[in-house]
Symmetry: C2
Subunit: 179 residues, 2 copies
């Protein structure tokens, strides 16, 4: 799938079929995440694939944003302790979030290009997730990417038009595209 098409046609999916996802697809999605940029190339991330239906169910119960049942999910974690040691506070408190988010966006695009539906989830209990997945101190679950075959194609959500959100050279100065 062409990259602009993927970006424009990707939707957050919240209804899924139970059908399992082949490991080849999972690998491609993880690879896409792995090639996102990271500040200073620190790559302070760990990806936990969850396929065990019992654990998925436990995660869903503590994640109000996890809508629909998916055959798997990827919990994108950051190594905040390592980030702090190498890059200080900016790395720990900001780049960990920013870099894991870019990795998650790549995963969403990859899933979509493979004909799957996906949704990024932040609304979860990090304490419960850490317990269920035995995540040690210093490692933080940043985002869950839930993935499955879409059961319903979501409609195009409204977006602010570009002219409302884009300025030129200073805040508030409307951008008029040159013809």
């Amino acid at each position: 799938m062409e990259v602009f098409e993927a970006i424009m046609s990707r939707r957050s999916v919240r209804k899924f079929k139970a059908e399992p996802i082949p490991d080849d697809f999972i690998e491609k999605i993880l690879e896409a995440g792995r090639w996102a940029p990271t500040g200073g190339n620190l790559q302070h991330w760990k990806f936990i694939i969850v396929k065990d239906p019992k654990i998925l169910d436990m995660i869903r119960k503590v994640s109000p944003g996890y809508l629909g049942a998916t055959p798997f999910a990827i919990v994108v974690c950051s190594d905040r302790e390592r980030a702090y040691k190498i890059g200080g506070k900016l790395a720990r408190d900001y780049l960990c979030i920013a870099d894991c988010s870019m990795a998650a966006e790549n995963m969403l695009l990859a899933a979509h290009a493979l004909g799957l539906g996906a949704c990024p989830v932040k609304s979860f209990s990090p304490v419960a997730l850490k317990e269920f997945l035995e995540i040690p101190n210093g490692i933080e679950p940043e985002l869950i990417v839930i993935i499955g075959y879409s059961d319903k194609k979501p409609s195009r959500p409204p977006r602010f038009p570009l002219e409302e959100i884009t300025y030129i050279n200073k805040y508030g100065e409307k951008w008029l595209k040159e013809k």
Copy 2:
């Protein structure tokens, strides 16, 4: 460009040609950013295109991470005040960063697919940037995406192999792909 190819072959570019970028390309890059997902579809972002060479120069002077001279940059800002009003602390302190990062990643992929080079920059003085670009209180510059024609194709940076960063069902449990 195919989406996996774009994701895998994108590099952070830090040497640029002075050649200007047509507004059609700028619009496509902004569109790509605008279609990133946002928590609750809040879209609490504003994109400031900077094309004025004097302002670009001022920004470079307060941004150690802004390497190379580009004919333009996009300052991805979040409306943290609005985010807080609608979505509370999680939206203001986390989703603003996560969502703007996903938009930035889309912009990086779009720029690459258009044959341009780009780099995300976080290492800048937000205080100075707010002054130069007249960014009001409540709005935060999150990331700068610097963009131009690449003058030097960067080499492939090292990445941790997937088996070192991927676990299954719990932290520390190595994932062995099914054949």
